[in-house]
């Protein structure tokens, strides 16, 4: 099952994908179908009773590490983000004026389904609620070597699109063999497979849960393969993961933050 959270008719609704349409699950409109164009897509994450933990990985694909001239890490290179940087499918991400290198990062997002502490690798998949696609934008102009990647690079408003769907873990029999691609304005710029992760999903859950409790709704962004390129204002960026979804995002300038939506 593919779950979405959308805004429509003045309220937020949960919906599922059904024959290329959205089928609402909120009681007042249960069963009503809407086209993908009729709604505003929100991050496909149900509200949580505390600040959502969003963990992210750097250099978790050996080829991307080489691309950035780094040796793959021996321990996961993890950082944390504030959930306020998350936005939904078909949304707009602000590219600051004057930056030289702002690139997408297509990533498999793991959404935790059960409270996890001291989970062993072999049991880890039982703790996954579902998967989504994230685009963890980075602005390399702002990189500094203090707690790198620093928050000015990675924790900006609008810079973490996620969606369109939260796909039930049960519907993803092998998350470690999914093709990832990114297209910019229709041109293929990034491709890889989750099989090339340095630390796979189960290892990451074992690692994080060895020192911190993961709660339902927490998110792990598992890193990106090579093929990241600078995207100017106006770029339409589509990050796609086989079987999970295609996440579309458009870059806008600081001075033009409210463009008329184009479809």
């Amino acid at each position: 099952m593919k779950l979405a959270r959308i805004a429509w008719a003045g309220a937020v609704h949960e919906a599922i994908e059904s024959d290329g349409q959205l089928e609402l699950r909120t009681p007042a409109f249960r069963g009503r179908r809407l086209s993908f164009d009729e709604v505003v897509w929100l991050p496909p994450l149900a509200p949580v009773p505390r600040a959502r933990t969003v963990l992210a990985l750097g250099l978790n694909y050996a080829d991307h590490a080489r691309e950035l001239a780094f040796k793959p890490p021996e321990e996961p290179l993890a950082f944390a983000k504030g959930a306020a940087s998350l936005i939904g499918h078909r949304a707009f991400t602000v590219r600051p004026d004057g930056v030289q290198n702002m690139h997408y990062e297509c990533e498999l997002a793991v959404v935790i389904g059960r409270e996890a502490k001291n989970v062993k690798k072999g049991d880890a998949h039982d703790f996954v609620g579902g998967y989504s696609v994230a685009n963890d934008y980075a602005i390399r102009d702002y990189l500094e070597n203090w707690y790198r990647p620093n928050l000015r690079v990675k924790n900006r408003d609008t810079c973490t699109p996620i969606g369109p769907w939260l796909v039930d873990a049960a519907d993803v029999p092998n998350p470690m063999n999914l093709r990832l691609t990114t297209h910019v304005n229709g041109v293929l710029t990034q491709q890889g497979t989750t099989a090339d992760m340095v630390f796979d999903v189960a290892t990451l859950i074992e690692y994080f849960s060895s020192f911190m409790t993961l709660y339902p709704g927490d998110v792990i962004l598992t890193g990106t393969p090579d093929g990241v390129v600078d995207c100017p204002v106006g770029s339409v960026v589509v990050c796609e993961i086989e079987g999970i979804g295609a996440l579309q995002n458009t870059l806008v300038s600081e001075s033009n933050r409210t463009p008329s939506p184009t479809r």
């Binding site: 505390r50 600040a51 944390a80 790198r148 911190m212 409790t213």
Partner: protein, 262 residues
């Protein structure tokens, strides 16, 4: 809000690194060297995730020695865009700047931002800073108008003995400047908490504590924070009646800090 009810952050908590003059100066000679290459320009922040939140009185599970990080948290109240804050800060005098920027702050609260010792500031310190219970919060938020942050001195005691005085007049970026500089690149949401940073001792280390210790953090006009440390239960749970795992001088092992166990 009653002083008897525990307070926990409602939003995301951001910590600030290297924001005290003493530690910054100690680090200065190393800043131009590898792997840092240059002194930090923007505020160096880290996220304290919700699993770290613990109320006053918590027995925080620790695997060994921890560093005490007494700090003041600014609790964000009203919502305002980055631009409003940033442009106000440029356009107005220093005094107005402070008033305008800090208008977003609902109040402040004493916090123990615990960490495992780590020597490098090159990579994010999730494994050292984001352990369960590693952000212990005083029980109440004090309105900003009741506190003169610049004049505040935070006292840290372990088992009743003084170990540190944190002097908030020695911040690299004072509260208003830090808030403005952070807001220049990200929006703090209502309920988020911005920590002003933790200071080191004269030798560059931080005060340390271990299982069995009682930590007290206090400052005039603010709700006092006390908590204890306890030996962490190992991943493989010992059979019932077994002794506490080694590695701590603990009395009783604890399973949870009690904040969010489900």
């Amino acid at each position: 809000m009653s002083f008897d009810l525990p307070w926990l952050p409602g939003g995301t908590v951001y910590g600030t690194l290297l924001n005290f003059r003493r530690e910054f100066d100690l680090w200065a000679p190393k800043m131009a060297q590898a792997p840092y290459q240059a002194a930090p320009k923007a505020p160096v922040l880290y996220v304290k995730t919700a699993n770290t939140f613990a109320p006053r009185g918590a027995a925080v599970p620790v695997p060994g020695e921890v560093e005490i990080g007494a700090t003041l948290g600014l609790v964000i109240g009203s919502f305002e865009s980055n631009e409003a804050v940033a442009s106000a800060s440029q356009a107005q005098s220093a005094i107005n700047h402070e008033v305008d920027v800090l208008a977003r702050v609902a109040g402040c609260v004493l916090i123990d931002d615990l960490s495992l010792p780590h020597a490098s500031y090159y990579r994010p310190a999730i494994r050292w800073r984001n352990r369960d219970g590693f952000l212990v919060c005083a029980p109440a938020v004090t309105p900003l108008r009741e506190i003169d942050i610049k004049a505040l001195k935070i006292e840290v005691r372990v088992n009743g003995a003084w170990v540190q005085t944190v002097d908030l007049s020695t911040l690299m970026r004072d509260a208003a400047t830090l808030l403005a500089d952070v807001s220049a690149f990200m929006t703090l949401q209502p309920g988020d908490v911005l920590l002003l940073g933790t200071d080191c001792l004269a030798d560059g280390t931080r005060p340390r504590a271990r299982a069995g210790d009682r930590v007290e953090i206090s400052a005039p006009g603010l709700a006092t924070l006390t908590h204890t440390l306890a030996a962490e239960v190992s991943a493989v749970r010992p059979p019932q009646g077994a002794k506490a795992p080694s590695g701590g001088s603990a009395d009783t092992p604890v399973r949870s800090v009690g904040a969010y166990s489900s």
